[in-house]
Structure formats: structure tokens, C-alpha cells
Amino acid sequence: MKSIKTKIYALATIIVVTTFFCVGLYWTKTILRAVQGEMACENSYDWASVKPSRLLSKAIETAPGVVSKSDISVSNRNYNSGLAIDKYLNNDFGLTYPWLIHSTNKRKGKIEYLSFNKKTGLIEYRTVLRKSAKDKWTEKRVYCVGPDGIAAEPDKKLGRFINLITTSEMWINGDVFYNKALRQFFRIETKVIETENGWQFDLANSKVIKGPQLDIEKYDIVQIGRIKKGRLDLRFTPPMKEFKKDAPSNAQKRKNSSYNTNKHYSALDSYRTHLTDKILALSSDGTIYMVDDSTLEIVSIAGNLPMASTMLGGAEKPAPKNLFAYDVKPLVVDGEYKGLMVASVSRDNTGVAVSVYDHNGKRLTTNYSRPKYTSRSRRGNYRNEGIENFCEMPGGLLVITLKYIVENLYPAGANVLSYFFSDSFEATKGYSNIFIIPDSFPAMFGRESTGNKYGQFLGVLGIISPSILIGLFLSWRVVKDARAIGIDKSDRRFWLIATIILGLPGYISYRIARPKQTLVTCENCGQLRRPDEEICHHCKLVWSIPAMEKPVWRVN
């Protein structure tokens, strides 16, 4: 019983100490990561571009008066720490919803919104009404949508949606969404009728359109509509004409969104970077599909996410979860789809890539951010890849060494877990992990898709050998001390294992939780023994208690 209580106390101490220790190390690593990201930006071309864009015909690019060709560019200048607070500070922390709010008036009016009710598995269209500032807001459910229909009240006949993926700009009528569990695209088509009280939904004639069921082996859709992650912003600049030479009419000025009053204006009469009759769908393997808006069928492959060159992150597949950020934009000129522009940032936030696909989904080109300082970088489209490039940067070796030292202060167990679970972490979520370090060197090894797995694991053991050695050394110290102060065998074994796995936090926990009594000399064996224990833990001698006898002397 005493041993169980001691172990509970020890475990509690370990939890508290390890948490604090890892939070401290987390911040150290975050500072290093910020320095690393800043260095990558400073010492390499932190942008990638394709100029000319290759999506426009030569006739447009070289038309008379064109002074600048079309350009697709992306910059990784805005360093994103990957902390949850980043989202928070950008007001993207849950109080605003991916579900749209149609019209809002601050003190009175009507709010309409769609929300997904997890309990019923139905999409609910709700309105919130307030006629005047004196009234209360009244919330009302107008209709519920399930895979099998629309009704005013929740009904089992409507079925259930599970794992719903929506477009980021979901509109009340004509919404397209994807149900992962059913592997189908859906669209809500509501009808309205005019009544004495104004417009009302005609639920009897409203329906839910279903697309064909997708092949589970082939398609694993993770995002639809606006394909974007993080702050990355891909920019398309059309071919530019000089203002003075070929001045546009007022009508042209209004039409042309990128008109620049000072110098240049767009050579394209009309272009946009979104689709109206089709939607894009991103698969977990990085393939971008084109989905027909009316039939809800996948009609073609529009392109793929490029794998940005990475200095520290290890080789990976260009899957959405492996990328720190990405942005996908289609280009439509005069109503005609020209092709797809795709950009991505590597997991370690050190490199950017941009790819261009034509209207058939054929890749035209991919460009990467490049280092500024190596002789190799001057040779064409050299990829900014590999740790050796980072070490060549001014101060790069110092940062790498510090990163290595900090990572080896982490518990050896955390390093081993980082290796095994490196692939299961989504790139940005990994950065808000305290105990497992997805951007560490062991994790980098873990993500290498090539090579012998056993060899890799041995390599990882080599990398984390300082952390293992620290654990072994400290566990030896712990066991030696525990034996000296008479901690029993099962507790010694507990501390031995804890210190090997946890390293420094394990040792600190032991120092905090160990008995604090001052030892006394045993009169039998002469070694130090604990005064609170009944027997000497060396020679098993019990305390010799003097008999309570009447003294022979007496003071009169």
C-alpha cells in the first residue's frame, strides 16, 4: 500500500515536471524555428515564380503595348509560427465559422446560417430574427437537410451525414459539399414560393442532389471549393500594358480589376481566379480533381500539389497533411478555363514551390525557391534542398547545432515516439505539440519514404544517442542514490525506467520526490541509514530501543 502511494506521488511529480520541462523546451525550439525560418527567408529567394505564366497564348503575352508578361508568384515571407495563437490573433479561433452568415445587422435584422448538427447528422438552416433593438433575438430552425432529403423537422428518413466537408464559402442555395463516409458529393437545391408573408421555402419541391459514389481506393477527398491552407497567397499578375501608350477607356477601367492608375493596366479584358460551373476537390494524396457542378461527378484531374523543396523536413509525398501551407487558384480568361496554379510551402517552412497546369491537367512547369549563396544556386532551377544547404548559410551550422542539443534534452522516449509518429502529424498541428516533436531530426528520418527501415531506425538511435546516454547516466545516478537512502527495490526499478525513458525530467522528478530525511549512522554496520525506517536497509538491524527501567540513581 505504501509502495502504491509512493508510486502515485512519484507519477504525479513526473507528470508535472515533464510537462513544465517540455513546455520550456518547446519555447526554446520555437525561437530556434523562428530563427531558422527567418534565415531561410534571408538567405534564399523566399519566393518562387513562373514568368511568363504559360497559361496564356503567345499572342496575348507579346501583344503590342505589353511591357510585362504574365506572372505567377508566391512568397513565404510571412513567417507563421504554427502556434494555435496565430489563428487566435487572426480571429480564426472558432467564433467565426466556415459556415457562412448571410446578412448581419448589428442591432436588429435577420441572420441566416447553416450549421451541422452532430447529434442528428443533419445540416440545419437557421434564421435569427430581431425586429427592433428593443426585441429579443429569436432563433428558428427553417429546415433540415440529410442525404435523403429536406424537411422542416429532423427525421430519421433524411439519413445522416458523417464527416462532412464543405466549401469555405458555402452559400445557402446551390451549396456543394462532400460526405466522406458516403463518398458522395451533395448539393442542396431549395425552391421558394411567394406567400402573403413574403418569400418562403417550398420544402416539398426542394431536393438534395447526389453525385455518384466515389471509389474508396481511388479518391480520398479532404478539401473542396477554395483549396487553401495557411496564409500562403498565390498571386497571378496578368500581362501589363503601359498606361501612356495605350490608354484604356473608362469602361475598360471599370472592367479591369488590376488597373493601375499610375503606370500599367492589365492586357486581359476579363479574368478571374475562381470557377463558376465546376468545383475543385483535393485528395489526400495531393491530386486536385475537377468536379462538375451539375452532375457532381469527378470529370478530370486538374493538377497536383507540388512538394516544396525542404531544407530540414526529410523527403515526403506532396500530400496536404505534409505541407505547411498551400494555395490553389484556377485561371479563367474571358470565361474560358486556362489552367491551374498551385503553390505550397514545405513542412519545415523553409521552401516554396509553384506549379502550373494547363486546362487538360498536364504539368507545364514547377519552380522552387532557391538559395542565394551557393554556386549551384546560380545554375538554373536548383532546389533549395538538404541540410547541407542550411549549414552553408551564415550561422546555419550554429542553429543546427543548437537545435540538435535542444532535441537531445527532450526525453529519449519522446524522440523515439517522434520517429514512429512523425508521419501521422498534420504539418501545422505538429507545431503545437509539446511532447512529440514532429520537426525534429528523428522525425525527419521517420518521414524518409526511401531506404531500409531498420537502417533508418539505427540511424535515429545514433542521432538520439546523447539523449539515451543522458538517460542512462542519470538513471545510474538515481539508482545509486536510491540504494544509498534505502528506497525499496520496486521503487528503484520504477525510477530506473522513468529516468531512462524521460532523461532529465525523470531525474528532476526523482530529486523532488525522493525522501528528504537526514541519514544517521547505523551502529551495527556503520553505514548511513534512514531514521524513519524500522530496519537498516543495509544490515537489517532494528533500532535498539533502550529499556524503560528505573534508574539506579535518584536525586533526593
Binding site: K5, I8, Y9, L11, A12, T13, I15, V16, T19, F20, V23, G24, Y26, W27, L83, A84, I85, K87, Y88, N91, F93, G94, L95, Y97, K106, R107, I111, Y113, S115, R126, V128, R130, K136, W137, T138, E139, S432, I434
Partner: protein
């Protein structure tokens, strides 16, 4: 037991007054700024959460720390040990007094926030659910700070345990920055630490020589 709890609150009356004052100030500030603003949307709940959380953390850490440290220094434990109360009851009364203080802060603030949301901001039920989620997160972080105060209060000396403990508490507060303010993200990390802090505090209380 009730007398012990009342004694705890009486002894920490200054802390208790600060907590009540702070809760009242937040409630009044929130109501006035909301009613005074034309749109009703100028009250930044997220701002309250981040700044308010630092204040909560410091106050509740201080409360836990003072409960142990000052009773040790004033030999209150030694005195109570001579009366017909067990150590377990003494510890429990301290924890209940701490929880009451946290509740005194959170209940009016939560009611005020919900009122402001319902009356002046968004009437959507899901929005107030998100705020409730945030408030629970603040509550659990405050509870952790209080638990840490109870543990650090056993340290010898005044300056190092006070400042060191405060530093550790603020370091722990940074979990909000790392993980975000949502309860689902925070609880897996915070819950084991809260339980562990109370286990350590209990153990230290039971084993200490007063």
C-alpha cells in the same frame, strides 16, 4: 468542516476581496462598454480571455501559495493539529475554499458574458457555446494555477518559491498560446497536471511536520 472553510476564507479575505473586485470590474466594464457602443460588437471577448487569463493565473496561484505559506509561517497548522480535526479535513477545507474563490470569480463573469452575447452580440446559439468552451478553458487553467500555488507554497524561503512558482505558472499559461483556447485541445494536457498538482499537494500536506 464549515468552520474550517469559513476560517480559510476569513484568513484570505484580502485575496477574496480582490477576486470579487476583479469579477465585478470585468462585469461592469463589459456591460458598460457593450451598452455604450453603437454596434455592440466592440467588446472583444478574446481580448478578455487572454489578458483576463493572466490576471486569473496570477491571482489564483497567489491564493494557493498564500494558503500554505502563510499558515505555515503563522503556525496555524500546528495549532489546528491540536484540535479535533484531521489533516485530511484541513486539506479539504483549503481546497474547497479555493474552489469557492474560483467559482466566485467565474460564475458572475460567465453570466455577464452570456448575457452580453445574447442581448447585444450574436444571438446564435453556437457562438455562445464557443464562448462557454473558452470559459471552461480559463477555469481549468486557473485551477492549475491554484494547484501549483498549493504545491509551491511548501517551498522554503519566500522570494525563490514565490517568483519561481509564478514563473512556472506563467510558463504553464503559455500552453494557451501553444494549444489554443479550446477546451478539447487544452484538457488532455491540463487535466493530468491539475490532478497531479492536487496529489502532490495532498501528499506534502499529509507528510509535512507542522
Amino acid at each position: 468542516m464549515l468552520r474550517l472553510i469559513i476560517r480559510e476564507i476569513n484568513d484570505r479575505i484580502l485575496h477574496f476581496a480582490i477576486v470579487i473586485g476583479l469579477a465585478s470590474a470585468i462585469v461592469v466594464m463589459m456591460l458598460f462598454s457593450t451598452i455604450g457602443s453603437t454596434s455592440g460588437q466592440e467588446v472583444r471577448l478574446e481580448g478578455f480571455t487572454l489578458v483576463g487569463l493572466v490576471i486569473c493565473v496570477v491571482i489564483f496561484y497567489g491564493f494557493g501559495f498564500a494558503q500554505i505559506q502563510s499558515d505555515r509561517n503563522k503556525k496555524v497548522f500546528a495549532f489546528l493539529s491540536t484540535l479535533a480535526v484531521t489533516r485530511g479535513m484541513m486539506f479539504l477545507s483549503k481546497v474547497i475554499a479555493g474552489l469557492v474563490t474560483i467559482a466566485v470569480f467565474f460564475i458572475p463573469v460567465s453570466i455577464a458574458i452570456q448575457f452580453v452575447i445574447r442581448r447585444y452580440m450574436s444571438p446564435m446559439s453556437i457562438q455562445s457555446l464557443a464562448v462557454t468552451d473558452m470559459l471552461w478553458s480559463v477555469f481549468f487553467i486557473s485551477l492549475t494555477a491554484y494547484g501549483l500555488g498549493l504545491v509551491v507554497g511548501w517551498g522554503n524561503g519566500k522570494i525563490i518559491p514565490t517568483l519561481g512558482g509564478l514563473f512556472l505558472t506563467l510558463l504553464f499559461y503559455s500552453i494557451v498560446v501553444i494549444k489554443g483556447i479550446h477546451l478539447g485541445d487544452l484538457l488532455p494536457v491540463v487535466a493530468p497536471v491539475i490532478i497531479s498538482c492536487f496529489v502532490i499537494a495532498y501528499r506534502k500536506f499529509m507528510a509535512a511536520s507542522f
